[in-house]
């Protein structure tokens, strides 16, 4: 059974962590989604993306709170959350690097570029740097095959990567963030 949102708020420990409550902004956007959907479960994906946009990723606490608010069971919501590549169920860094591992990029040296990223940041795919700045999550074919190898980071497509320019690019991304 789905608990009501108010009930859940009482159960969950309130340790000052803002992840245990939906913000007024989130509630406003969720209500807008719910109003436009024929039934609440239909907003599951959009709601998860919305939460992730605000918080970077979807924690277990977020999932419970969201589940209660949109009246979709935690199990159903998690089955949706874990299905899709762009919904993160683990914490990610400030910048998520998505180098392409599609075939068109690999034909043009994509493997070497990804190895260079790993070498530079000392992280493997799926890992986050200790300073929580970067997470490395390669994605399949990013649809920019004429500019291969490519990477998406902070909604920007970076074309024509090489082992040499990728190191410089990461430095620039790090600078911009500071």
């Amino acid at each position: 059974m789905t608990q009501s949102y108010e009930q859940l708020l009482r159960i969950l420990p309130s340790n000052g962590d803002d992840s245990s409550q939906l913000s007024p902004c989130e509630i406003k956007q969720l209500d807008k989604l719910l109003a436009s959907a024929p039934y609440p479960a239909a907003v599951s994906i959009d709601a998860l993306k919305l939460i992730q946009q605000q918080r970077g990723w979807v924690s277990d606490a977020c999932l419970s709170i969201l589940s209660a608010y949109i009246h979709v069971s935690i199990a159903d919501l998690d089955s949706v959350a874990t299905f899709y590549n762009l919904i993160f169920r683990q914490a990610v860094g400030e910048i998520v690097l998505h180098p392409c591992d599609g075939i068109s990029c690999d034909l043009m040296g994509g493997v070497e570029v990804r190895a260079a990223i790993s070498q530079k940041l000392h992280i493997e795919p799926g890992e986050t740097t200790p300073d929580k700045r970067f997470t490395l999550i390669p994605l399949p074919c990013l649809g920019a095959c004429d500019k291969a190898p490519v990477m998406i980071a902070s909604k920007q497509v970076y074309p024509h990567l090489t082992v040499r320019n990728i190191a410089q690019l990461i430095d620039e991304l790090e600078e911009n963030k500071k």
């Binding site: 874990t82 899709y84 590549n85 762009l86 683990q90 034909l107 070497e112 070498q119 493997e124 074919c141």
Partner: protein
């Protein structure tokens, strides 16, 4: 406006704002819509049928025929939905991104004409989540249309048969998964569920989104509609050089001098696309083979270069025209490695619903990895062939697994010697000269392809 030879891309100019409404209108944009509003729904459907337009997403199903399955008339359900499939994720396909970013209004116009044809009032664009620029521009284009009475209530203020034409467009940005491109999986994703394909029948044309009649077509298919209505189906048919009608966005990626996209007549020869438009192979590289239409099509060889890019012509050669985006395999890249990359992608993107795909594809990946590592045995090739048979059409729930094994089965046929050399010499002959480098990167390479942060549940 004289009938153009490049209807889909004539709106794409050097101007930075070529995607905006003012530019689109100045090149004859929305002329198709105004003409369509003077026609009856039956006339519109007839024009689409007679144009011989075939779905541009890969399968090539005749669009008019698909649309004719949608119940129409007084007894038909009042609500019907049109969905633009903009979930481009096929390896090596990048044509839809071009249209989405440069001509968002063309897609909206196509949807509006679809609405008039089928009596639908709601359109959806299912957009790949990583296409951020496309999302921004589509959103802005939709807003522009609302301001100019091209979307919303009583479009253009001129009713059809005394009734106002209302149409709304909703943009859904996906959370990312290749299987969402399958039309029934896409509908499940739109309903907020896991994107597993549905059993057919019933077909979505009758029971689709929210259980209502639904049409799902590719971006490029919708883009063709305004021009078919504006310039007529005879003009459209005459555009093609071979059997198929219209133009097609063709693309080439890999080691060619000028990788890119071009709108060319349907039936243009593969040689013309690769050698003329893409400038031929890069210096120092030779053509070993190519996938004619994206990652889920069978390899073809140099001897097939004079074939025409036409659905039936390419089928006769044992492959598919698919998305029309050619991927080049050069002589310095290991074919086993290429197939491994592709099958690994499909294994990862499998929704997990049926066994040949969920278990068969990872099995094929492990065999290919073993061969590539230099630990292959002769029986592995037989096993790979068996796995291709298990995943053949008819054995699986949807077209993902049959598509996944297309490059594998054709590589086993055309590049068998490469597989055998790997097994005989217990190493990858393509990487051998880089043994030192391979050893250094082997660890990262292996890990690089298990790319999930708990976003996936394999």
């Amino acid at each position: 406006m004289t009938s153009p030879l490049n209807p889909l891309t004539r709106f794409i100019t050097d101007k930075a704002n070529c995607w905006q409404l003012s530019e689109y209108l100045s090149h004859g944009g929305y002329d198709g819509l105004t003409r369509a509003m003077e026609m009856s729904a039956d006339e519109l459907l007839d024009s689409i049928k007679q144009s011989n337009l075939r779905g541009r997403g890969g399968a090539g199903f005749p669009t008019g025929l698909k649309w004719s399955f949608v119940p129409r008339g007084a007894d038909a359900p009042r609500e019907k939905y049109l969905i633009v499939n903009a979930d481009e994720m096929e390896p090596g396909a990048f044509k839809d991104r071009w249209l989405l970013e440069q001509t968002p209004h063309q897609i909206i116009e196509g949807l509006l004409i679809g609405g008039l044809t089928l009596g639908a009032t709601q359109g959806y664009i299912f957009l790949r989540g990583d296409y951020y620029l496309a999302e921004e521009r589509l959103q802005q284009a939709i807003e522009e249309c609302k301001q100019h009475q091209l979307l919303g209530r009583d479009i253009l203020g001129r009713g059809i048969q005394g009734q106002a034409f209302n149409f709304e467009i909703h943009l859904h940005s996906s959370a990312g998964r290749y299987i969402c491109g399958e039309e029934t999986a896409l509908i499940n994703a739109m309903e907020g569920k896991r994107a597993t394909p549905r059993a057919k029948p019933p077909f979505p044309q009758v029971v689709g989104l929210w259980g209502k009649p639904t049409i799902v077509n590719n971006v490029e298919t919708f883009c063709n509609l305004p021009h078919i209505i504006n310039f007529g189906s005879d003009w459209f048919k005459a555009l093609g050089k071979g059997q198929d009608a219209g133009t097609k966005i063709f693309g080439v990626s890999g080691r060619v001098k000028r990788p890119g996209l071009w709108e060319l007549p349907m039936g243009t020869s593969i040689r013309e696309i690769i050698e003329h438009h893409a400038g031929g192979m890069c210096d120092g590289y030779r053509l070993k083979g190519f996938l004619p239409g994206g990652g889920s099509t069978d390899f073809l060889l140099e001897e097939h270069l004079d074939a025409l890019m036409d659905y039936d012509e390419i089928s006769k050669l044992g492959s598919r025209m698919g998305t029309g985006t050619i991927i080049i395999l050069d002589d310095k890249y290991c074919p086993v490695s290429m197939v491994l990359n592709l099958v690994r992608f499909f294994a990862q993107e499998s929704c997990g619903w049926c066994t040949p795909c969920r278990d068969g594809l990872p099995w094929a990946v492990s065999l290919l990895e073993k061969i590539e590592r230099g630990e292959g045995e002769p029986k592995d090739i037989d096993q790979l062939e068996d796995l291709c048979d298990f995943a053949a059409p008819g054995n699986t729930f949807c077209a993902l697994a049959p598509g996944a094994v297309e490059p594998l089965q054709s590589a086993l046929k055309y590049f068998r010697q490469d597989f055998e050399t790997h097994i005989k010499h217990q190493c990858c002959p393509y990487h051998d000269e880089r043994v030192a480098k391979k050893a250094a990167t082997a660890k990262t390479q292996g890990a690089l392809n298990t790319n999930r942060v708990g976003g996936c549940d394999e």
